[in-house]
């Protein structure tokens, strides 16, 4: 076991699954490093290098570059999955879903239901999300609430390198369309990641910290922010449970409700915009199903209802921070 980055963990997961199952292919823009150039092969491995090294090992039949035609190649993933392959297609930034969403939400997501249970569509869409990269309004969105809204999709949001590897292997082995959200700011973060393949089941929340006073539910990069807030609050004698649902669909409602039953207080931390968000979603589920356990108002910590600004000072103010989370925790106890 060695320290590996979030980027390496994802790359290793894909490589190990490709070795295990010849039906696993990957494609996306520059995934093979850039086709047809006179320079080095495997030059890029995706825009931020996540798939680098896969082309040399698995070759052009299994690692494909694509033109900038997301509808065609994301749809091709659905078509390939429905006919027996297990493609891992890359939608470079989730912000680009607007040019190919039909193939995801009306096609891949609905095949099984529309066809009366006769379709199996085992595909993974890898996609980058999140703010903090100074990438401005069209390269910094979260958008996972939009995918979570759609029946037929599974939505995975790994919060660390260890989580990323286990969840990616699970996603590739899963028989339903999976949208795998990679936070672009986390690629270089490292932690101990086992060398052997392992899976982390979907719909089982990870209790990253146990406490008595307040339950904090956070997603993806927000999990570490929540734990930083909890560290600070600890000093003031406020003890928090920090729950990482890992997947928003399926959602581990039971564990969330149990934790709220225990603590009586809930803060939800979501990097997505506030309206119809995961913060809303968890709040609604708890307000309907654990109301009697609630001792105080639920607090939702999200960015404002605005696009992601470019200026670093504004972007930093946009993203939820440990301070804002701590303030919300205090508000639930007021």
């Amino acid at each position: 076991m060695a320290k590996k980055s979030y980027r390496q963990a994802i790359n290793e997961a894909i490589a190990q699954e490709m070795r295990r199952d010849e039906n696993v292919l990957i494609w996306g823009e520059d995934n093979a490093g850039g086709a047809g150039t006179e320079g080095e092969s495997d030059a890029w491995g995706g825009v931020l290098g996540v798939t680098k090294g896969l082309f040399p090992e698995f070759g052009p039949d299994r690692v494909l570059d694509t033109p900038i035609s997301e509808s065609a190649f994301i749809g091709a993933a659905a078509g390939a999955a429905a006919t027996g392959l297990r493609p891992v297609a890359e939608l470079m930034f989730v912000d680009f879903m607007g040019v190919c969403f039909d193939q995801i939400f009306n096609q891949a997501a609905k095949f099984r239901y529309m066809f009366g249970g006769k379709a199996v569509t085992p595909m993974v869409i890898r996609t980058m999300y999140g703010a903090g990269f100074r990438a401005a309004s069209q390269h910094s969105q979260a958008l996972y609430p939009v995918f979570t809204h759609i029946p037929g999709l599974k939505v995975i949001i790994p919060s660390s390198p260890y989580e990323a590897k286990g969840l990616m292997i699970q996603a590739i082995r899963d028989d339903d369309p999976c949208i795998f959200f990679e936070h672009k700011v986390m690629y270089d973060e490292e932690e101990e990641v086992p060398d052997d393949p392992y899976t982390i089941p979907f719909g089982e929340a990870n209790l990253t910290r146990e406490g008595d006073d307040v339950t904090i539910v956070a997603f993806g990069r927000m999990v570490q922010m929540a734990n930083q807030a909890a560290d600070a609050l600890e000093k003031d004698g406020i003890s928090c449970t920090v729950l990482d649902p890992r997947t928003t669909s399926p959602l581990d409602t039971d564990t969330i409700l149990e934790c709220v039953e225990d603590t009586g207080r809930l803060v939800v931390v979501d990097e997505a915009n506030p309206r119809c968000s995961m913060a809303s979603d968890i709040s609604g589920i708890v307000a309907q199903n654990a109301f009697k356990a609630l001792k105080g108002p639920i607090q939702m910590v999200t960015p404002p209802h605005t696009p992601v600004p470019f200026a670093p000072e504004l972007e930093d103010a946009f993203v939820p921070s440990p301070d804002k989370i701590a303030a919300a925790v205090r508000a639930t106890m007021a």
Binding site: L25, D61, R62, L64, T66, P67, S69, S71, A72, F73, I74, G75, A76, A77, A78, G79, A80, A81, A82, T83, G84, L85, P87, D102, Q103, N106, Q107, K110, F111, R112, Y113, M114, F115, G116, G117, K118, A119, V120, P151, G152, K154, D174, D175, D176, G203, P250
Partner: protein, 321 residues
Amino acid sequence: MQMNREDLLESYRTMRTIRDFEERVHEEFSNGKIPGFVHLYAGEEASAVGVCSHLDGRDAIASTHRGHGHCIAKGCDVRSMMLEIYGRGDGLCGGKGGSMHIADLEKGMLGANGIVGAGPPLICGAAVTAKYRKTGGVAVAFFGDGGSNQGTTLESYNLAKVWNLPVIFVVEDNGYAESTASTWSVGGSQQDRATGFGMPSALVDGHDFFAVHEAAGEMIDRARKGGGPSLLHVKLNRFFGHFEGDAMTYRGPGEIQRLREEKDSLKIFRARVTEAGLLTGDQLDEIDREVMALVNDSITESEAAAPPAHEQLVTDVYVSY
């Protein structure tokens, strides 16, 4: 590709099945027996059958909202199809899909589709599977003149070309997208577009089964041999409205009647094969009787059949969840 007598009888039977299926669905829709949006393929039979008569179990097709004909041509069970269109529990899709989502993956029929232009990307994926597995299979995307203007379709031309996929793009140009004329909505031409993306193409009379069959055969052959994608522009006509209920006031006076008289692919087929002495009128008449009986039985069965069980509302969303 010479067709022997069995092939000819089979193709005629399939075209007749499509025709009768659609005529009867039209009747029963008018009788209020069939719910939803129903788009009929009558008049276009020679396209689906001319192409699909070349296909086998290795091959896949993707269809459109006007999908009954493609389903039948690719071998879907007529009874199960009718049950599906009636929304019955024993339907091909358990009654959950209906006319616009009728599909049979085991038969390589990737589905009718409610989204114009959604089929071509999917078929590129089916072609990847065939190419990767070296099955020699091909993938055929059927879409209309209207669908030829959807970006998803145009992107797929390029992806199929760049990835050198065994795809045949079949533009079924029936002159209209809903009430809009293809002469107005299609800039340039289908064949010039194919050239624009580096694909060979052909334009054929879609009322002439043999013309479609021959042109499609060449393209499918080339694709099976690794020669990449092609585009087939099929000019044809629909005998009914865009969907059932369409008054068709946008069509020229007497247009339908003229078409039924002069552009009926079944009449044309019959005349051709009987005059050439390949088949006899009696042989065809017998098929007509058998097909009519089959389709009528499917209607009778569908009317009596039960709807899906209530629990079915929440099943089949995921394989596991």
